[in-house]
């Protein structure tokens, strides 16, 4: 299916991560890895700690225990903007676009890290600064074309419908040319057509740019279709880790999804 790309070695390894908030344990001793160029899905019921996991990976939460190795380097405690600088981009469960800005500006903002011109040149908007703006504009236009959002280029994102906002958010994350893209429920709240579009975009991104993708998704159909591997979290613990078929056959996963164990008691705090 994904013939054009070659899944490589581990890009990011998570080892024995534990995270708690004021006594509430959100993640307990979790380990898994994300391999280069793959699409990894993280699934689990509400409160399983999926978003917390992404927050740990991109430096927003600081786990009490465990370590993260990214591109072969073990990472010390870092701030989110440092993670971004190392090529990790993400989207959010509840859309976190810059509501006061246009679609184009949102995407250009995603490209911020690639822009180098000093402040003074920007104030003068001369020569190199202008050239830089235009080069990046051209790049962002390619993303706009790719995601088919040309018509809303100059619309303030606050006025866009939900589905398009999700797409703009993906565009903003792509603008950073990330090596690792974290998508938090990219298809939540979408209708079937929108979901299909989004799946197509995710796969295209993976294929054309070779971007490694880790995504959280509830729709099992989608997950099984597009991911190379699946990590299942429940109540802050890892239940299973493997190819879609392996996971589908796992008894613990089945229990969790049928709700026979402790799903009702799962704390919402971790989400």
């Amino acid at each position: 299916m994904h013939a054009a790309r070659q899944i490589g070695g581990p890009l990011l390894q998570v080892e024995n991560i534990s995270l708690s908030f004021g006594g509430v344990r959100a993640l307990a001793n979790i380990s898994f890895e994300i391999r280069e160029h793959e699409v990894l899905a993280i699934i689990g019921p509400n409160g399983a700690g999926k978003s917390s996991m992404l927050n740990v990976i991109n430096g927003f939460y600081h786990p009490q225990e465990g370590r993260i190795t990214y591109k072969g380097k073990t990472r010390a405690r870092m701030r989110p903007h440092q993670a971004a600088a190392q090529g990790i981009a993400r989207t959010f469960q509840n859309i976190a676009l810059f509501k006061g800005m246009s679609t184009l500006d949102n995407i250009m903002t995603g490209r911020l890290l690639k822009m180098r011109q000093p402040f003074f040149m920007q104030a003068l908007y001369l020569g190199p600064a202008k050239r830089e703006e235009l080069e990046h504009r051209a790049f962002c236009e390619r993303i706009i074309d790719f995601l088919e959002i040309q018509a809303i280029r100059k619309t303030p994102v606050g006025r866009l419908p939900y589905g398009l906002q999700k797409r703009v958010e993906l565009a903003r994350a792509l603008a950073a040319e990330p090596e690792l893209l974290l998508l938090d429920e990219p298809m939540a709240g979408m209708n079937v057509e929108e979901k299909e579009d989004m799946c197509r975009f995710v796969l295209d991104v993976n294929e054309h740019f070779g971007t490694t993708i880790a995504l959280i998704e509830h729709d099992m159909g989608v997950v099984m279709d597009i991911s190379d591997r699946v990590v299942v979290l429940d109540y802050g613990r890892k239940l299973a880790d493997g190819t879609p078929d392996e996971v589908r056959a796992d008894q613990a996963v089945i229990d969790a999804y049928l709700g026979v164990s402790h799903e009702e008691t799962a704390s919402a705090a971790a989400e």
């Binding site: 993670a83 971004a84 810059f98 509501k99 903002t109 911020l112 822009m115 051209a138 236009e141």
Partner: protein
Amino acid sequence: MFYREAGQFKTSYAADQAIFPILQDRIFVAFLLLVAFVVVPVVANEYWLSTILLPFLVFSLAAVGLNLLTGYCGQLSLGTGGFMACGAFAAYKLSTGFPELNIVVVMLASGVITALVGVLFGLPSLRIKGFYLAVATLAAQFFLLWLFNKFAWFTNYSPSGVISAPPRAVFGDFFVTGPQATPAGKYLFALTLVALLALAAKNMVRCRVGRSWMAIRDMDIAAEIIGIRPLTAKLSAFAVSSFYIGVAGAMWAFVYTGSVEALAFQIDRSFQILFMIIIGGLGSILGSFLGAAFITLLPIFLSNAPNIFGLSISVDTVSHFEFMIFGALIVFFLIVEPHGLARLWQIAKEKLRLWPFPY
């Protein structure tokens, strides 16, 4: 009919990224600049130049500065008066300490000094947000005024604590401060400086730095996650904003009034400039100018109104009514258009685009 962009196609991103992409706008702005630079100095009398246009220009610059911080970066500040004072006193110390320094350099350097002070008082913004930050910026307001009032070094040991601008020329004998300066000369100097700085502000907000401010304003956590350092973004906003406000303060002391004491930059001044950007439009450079015009002209209009209409009303009644009308108008504008005059202007333009054919 006349305001049509139909048929104007952009063939390059450069043309599309221009400040005024529409031809009519470019013509209008060129016309406006022509009037401001050529017609006004010839036609306007001294009263208009020195009591309406000069303060308008100075206020506009300060409003642009505050708008960069509050409107674009979302950091509410009530310390504007203190930063203006900082610019004024820095300019005084520089121009008396180094008399050979050109006045333009003095103005910009005092802006830089104010920017440094602004960064210092911007540091709490990394921890403190919203109204807490607004009240904390009052610490800057009160502390700075106290400092300039208290230490005679800032006023060159003048017994009264008042500084007055020494006469300085931009070149030759084109004096822009001191008694030799003509109102028209001062006006042109202020206009040039303000126009250039406003252009620079416009460039900043449409480039990387401006986007990083707006990202912090709209959602600071998301901004950090896509790689914006809050420290850099917030402090650069404080620095640039304070630079503008500092230059405005220096112009206030040197070009507009000619002499000030620290008390001229009281907290009322901070509120006045905050009004300008709210009435004019948060996050709009044009709005800063519209707001400054509105807030400068309204009281003058109100206090002249009885004369204009040939009424004889005692001055205290007029002043009290001024307060009431001013307050009522602010509420009125907030209700009618919370996004300020700049938005009204935009709506008017959109209407004009279709005129005379309604939808």
